[in-house]
Amino acid sequence: MTTTLETAALSACRGVAVRYGTREAQVIALEEVDLAIEAGETLALRGPSGSGKTTLLHLLGGLVLPSEGEVIWKGRSLALLDVAARGKARAAGIAYVFQGSNLLPNLTALENVAFAAWLASKAGPRPQMEPEELLALVGLEGKADALPTELSGGEAQRVAIARSLAQLPELLLCDEPTGHLDSDTAGRVLDLLWALRECFGFALVLATHDPGVAARCERLVELADGRVTGGSR
């Protein structure tokens, strides 16, 4: 059963807490987090390591379920969806770009993008752009047959971005997407992300501890020890 919530936000967290372990060994990853993400906006999650940024991103995509509170995606509580339904929601709407690109190691750059496109087409409408076009869009048309190990860090991240676009994202969750990159490459990747957001209109949530990167976003949420400590809501 799903519950439709009256909210205009694309995605929202209401009183969310994530705890691991039990009793004395319990670790609090997030506590009392309330957050709403509007369609098309850009939001930076900033905080030191262990502040809960990645956990919050995982919550928003339904990869982790809250111990308390609820996460809402387009008006429906993710906790009330089964594993398959949460998967479908990600396949056609919520995309991730991870810190380490997380490309599938046994598929080429093109196949990585094509695999995401195939999953998206199973879950919703067929993507308008072909995988080759998406690769060309991120400037990697010449690397279609390269395996992830044959790509540089920046190239791998661009393939990961192209892969996320294949999912027709309404919400793109980026976890330190430039964390492993040098500053020049990082700048180019961020430029690409912003350009694509302009083009595709998805909401962008970006976890970072780089103030420069955070400054690019329309909104900022500060996290510390699993709690929202500042920023504009």
């Binding site: 995309a95 995401a116 047959d145």
Partner: protein, 901 residues
């Protein structure tokens, strides 16, 4: 070292699934080895015990007088490891008569056996049917008593050479079971030479013999080789000391060890009594044969057990190798954080020791359980042997685990930290593929096989002081190279096959179905799939080849047993009883008997050679036993039986006889046949109608087959003495009924099931049932384990990748398809390898060990049931692992897994 200990224990704790998998696989691997050690040790000890106990009379030392025999027997009796030592004599008699209520009866020549009181305590050369051996009385052999119609209390008169007679009261009737050994010529230099037993035997107490017949006949001063081989040819008294050794001193080791020990005991006695006695050693002769059989058995066990054991250990290596990429990253991380190579090696040692200790103990337990379930009877498991097996299992498990960890970890220790943290790259063509090593191995295997085949795969047991087996080392290269070549070829073809599939589906650029990603992914997981394919494929191929070989061996053991015994059931009766009591008819009427045929087994001279002669009924023989065309030369069984039936004086002779006497079909052959009425040999004409090389119940050397009616008319032996019976039910059950139906006629009934167990003269008597049962059970278990391991490792290795797929929105079904497709590829490839290589290996093994099979198999026997179980085991392992994988993927902590680097 404490850092290594902490690191090792922490890694084991952090990966309970991987630790459990590795431990279980190691346990199964060492369990197979433990079970093999227990079984092979037990088999060799059983062979020793069987050989030792099958010898009714161990040592016979000829001496020249009663006094010497008595004195020496007494002295030898006090020697260590001697169970019994008795003064014994043998002597001929020319006739024996009896006057009873039914009138006068007489029998021809025979032999006297003189034994002291208590002789039968440890020596089992005869047994009493009625009465016993009393002072001044004689015991008659059952056949002689029947001929004379003598009863206990009657008086018989022995006629001695030179005209003397001696009268004795009959004190008992006995069955002399070892007459061929008791009356053999005693020549210590020539060794044992079991002779044709005398037709009539009388047993007397030594003391009365010494004072009557012993004085009347001359004493043999030396050995007279060959004399006793002819009934009635011995002319004097042969005094001897008969010695039985203590079986406990010989058993507990291999036949070869027992052979050595028996020689040491004999030499010790002879040395202490230098110049007084030397022995004819019947025991060593038997142990030498057993030692030869044991060597063949060891060779067979090695051929069957070693590939299984290596594959089992290989599986343990695979368990360690499966997570090698993850391990590489972990080790690289540890090195980045300052761990030295030494502490990483120490960590591997700690991990291997802990896992090996538990796995070894568990494996030993499984091996005890396996032998107790799968091997009939006890395997002689003592506390010491148990401790040894546990120790060996633990040592092997620790060593196997450490070698596997070292093998997989060495690269991590030598490469840079950065390289270790990178994922797998696109692998180039391996060197062996560039060098075409697979095709080279196959070609070499074929060449070696052809070369060794052209020399007849000679395997020789050297009968020197201690038997050793001479097998051409090159012979073993053929199957070894076949294993390697076929496996590499399959690995090569797998790559090509995938390439073809991917191209067929449009390659990387086209198509978007799930199959395309599955194939693309699988085609780049060559190393992992090849590992699974090699191990599962080799395990299945090993199972198939071993199963086919063992079943063919069993089939031939059955054929051999039937050749040795003669038929499903044989009933041997005293002379004249078969015809007089209508035994053939009576046996034919027993429920479960489908056909019968009467046989007369006797002897005749061809020139100076004494050969066995079988008088048969050609019309009925084929239905009572199996006559294979391969038993005859020049014509089939049916044709030669027809020829015998057409020509009453027809005879089938061995190829050896044909060559030695320049005979050809139709030639006249004059045989000297023993006339049982006169006790003398006389000439009888036969005509050669064919050549025979094997025949039911016939010995392995020269023999002849003639018509029963013609032979009976010539030897006056009272007609057939054996009945062959074919059964339509269990031979042992029907055998019991036949025994019941012929009760009271002195008939000995044997069945083929007993024979298969009891035959001890042929290599096919090495009982492969136990080892093949163990191997078959472990092959099924290992095939299931291998598939389970492969699937488990796929999930373990790719969990980060699968978590990423889930983050992209892939369903469990989509992710599971990546696991299932690889399992299917491995299973499919393994089945191809098993069918092709398994069959080829079985053909090669049977051809290489052709000397083991007598007669050679006409075709391979395929154990379909076992093969189906083997396949089912592999499928079950894969299915079980897939179900567990699905559960594990459903529970995969996505957030935590995605954070892993």
């Amino acid at each position: 070292m404490s850092a290594a200990l902490q690191l090792g224990l922490a890694r084991l704790r952090r990966r309970p699934g991987g630790t459990l998998t590795q431990g279980l696989v190691l346990a199964v691997a060492v369990a197979l080895l433990g079970a093999m050690i227990l079984f092979i040790g037990h088999s060799l000890r059983t062979m020793t015990a069987a050989a030792t106990r099958s010898v009714p009379l161990d040592l016979q030392g000829p001496v020249t007088s009663y006094q010497k025999a008595s004195t020496l027997a007494q002295r030898i009796g006090h020697e260590p490891d001697v169970a019994q030592s008795s003064p014994v004599a043998t002597a001929p008699f020319t006739g024996i008569g009896h006057h009873g209520a039914e009138g006068a009866t007489a029998a021809g020549t025979g032999s006297i056996l003189a034994v002291p009181p208590g002789y039968l305590r440890r020596i089992e050369t005869f047994r009493f049917l009625h009465g016993g051996l009393h002072p001044g009385q004689v015991v008659l052999d059952q056949q002689l008593a029947a001929t004379l119609r003598a009863r206990i209390g009657d008086i018989v008169t022995l006629q001695l050479g030179g005209g003397g007679t001696q009268r004795f009261k009959v004190g008992g009737v006995a069955i002399v079971s070892s007459a061929d050994v008791l009356f053999q010529p005693l020549n210590p230099l020539a060794g044992p030479a079991p002779a044709q037993p005398p037709a009539n035997i009388a047993i007397l107490p030594t003391a009365i013999f010494a004072h009557t017949i012993g004085r009347a006949l001359p004493t043999l001063k030396g050995s007279s080789a060959g004399a006793a081989a002819v009934p009635g040819a011995a002319t004097g008294v042969q005094w001897q000391v008969q010695v039985q050794l203590d079986p406990a001193a010989l058993e507990g080791g291999t036949p070869s060890q027992a052979f050595t020990k028996a020689g040491v005991i004999r030499n010790s006695i002879e040395r202490k009594l230098t110049g007084q006695i030397r022995f004819v050693d019947n025991l060593s002769a038997e142990l030498e044969t057993a030692a030869g059989d044991a060597l063949y058995a060891e060779a067979l066990f090695i051929l069957l057990a070693v590939p299984g054991a290596l594959l089992a250990l290989g599986l343990a290596y695979l368990a360690a190798l499966g997570t090698v990429d993850r391990d590489r990253r972990e080790l690289a991380l540890l090195r980045a954080r300052g761990a030295s190579r030494r502490s990483l090696l120490g960590m591997a040692a700690v991990e291997s020791s802990v896992v090996g200790l538990v796995a070894g103990a568990l494996g030993a337990g499984v091996s005890f359980l396996a032998v107790s379930i799968l091997i009939e009877g006890s395997v002689g498991l003592t506390a010491t042997r148990g401790v040894v097996v546990v120790g060996v299992c633990i040592a092997l498990a620790i060593l196997g685990g450490f070698v596997a960890r070292l093998g997989t970890g060495l690269r991590s220790l030598s490469e840079t930290v950065a390289a270790g943290r990178r994922g797998p790259g696109r692998s180039g063509k391996p060197l062996w593929q560039c060098l075409y090593l697979d095709l080279l191995c196959l070609a070499l295997s074929g060449l070696i096989f052809w070369l060794t085949a052209s020399t007849g795969f000679a395997a020789v047991v050297n009968p020197d002081s201690n038997p050793t087996l001479s097998l051409s080392i090159y012979m073993f290269f053929a199957p070894a190279l076949l294993w390697i070549g076929a496996t590499l070829l399959l690995v090569r073809l797998r790559g090509r096959l995938f390439g073809g599939f991917v191209r067929l589906l449009g390659g990387a650029a086209g198509g978007s179905g799930r199959r395309r990603f599955l194939l693309a992914s699988a085609s780049r997981r060559g190393a992992a799939i090849d590992r699974g394919l090699v191990f599962v494929g080799l395990l299945l191929a090993f199972g198939v080849s071993m199963g086919v070989f063992a079943r063919t061996y069993d089939q031939q053991a059955g054929v051999d047993a039937q050749l040795t015994l003669g038929a499903d059931i044989t009933a041997q009766a005293p002379p004249g009883v078969t015809a007089a009591k209508g035994l053939t008819r009576k046996i034919a009427a027993v429920p479960g008997v489908s056909a019968t045929s009467a046989i007369d087994h006797s002897y005749a001279y061809v020139g100076p050679d004494l050969q066995d002669v079988f008088g048969i009924e050609p019309r009925t023989l084929s239905s009572a036993t199996t006559l294979r065309d391969s038993y005859f030369l020049g014509a089939g069984a049916q044709t030669l039986m027809a020829r015998l039936q057409e020509d009453p004086s027809g005879i089938l002779v061995s190829k050896e006889t044909i060559l030695d006497y320049s005979l050809k079909e139709g030639d006249l052959l004059r045989l000297r046949v023993l006339d049982h009425q006169s006790g003398r040999f006389h000439i009888v004409p036969f005509h050669v109608v064919g050549v025979v090389q094997e025949f039911p119940a016939a010995p392995r050397d020269s023999f002849m087959v003639a018509n029963l009616s013609y032979l009976a008319a010539a030897d006056h032996g009272g007609g057939p003495n054996t009945v062959f019976a074919a059964t339509s039910e269990s031979p042992s059950a029907v055998g019991g009924r036949v025994l019941e139906a012929t009760k009271g006629y002195g008939v000995t009934v044997k069945n083929i099931e007993q024979q298969t167990v009891q035959t001890v003269s042929s290599i096919t008597t090495v009982d492969l049932t136990g080892i093949s049962r163990l191997e078959e059970a472990f092959a099924i278990l290992l095939a299931a384990t291998a598939m389970w391991l492969f699937v488990s490792l796929v999930v373990e290795e790719r969990r980060h990748e699968f978590a990423t797929m889930a983050a992209l929105g892939a369903s469990l079904r989509d992710i599971g398809a990546f696991v299932r497709s690889e399992a299917l590829v491995v299973l499919g490839g393994a089945v191809i390898l098993a069918v092709g290589l398994g069959w080829l290996m079985a053909e090669m093994l049977v051809a290489m060990l052709q000397h083991v099979f007598d007669p050679p198999p006409e075709s391979l026997a395929v154990p379909w049931g076992f093969i189906a179980l083997l396949g089912a085991g592999a499928v079950a392992g894969a299915v079980l692992a897939s179900v567990l994988a699905a559960i594990s993927l459903r529970r995969l902590p996505l957030g935590q897994t995605l954070r892993e680097e």
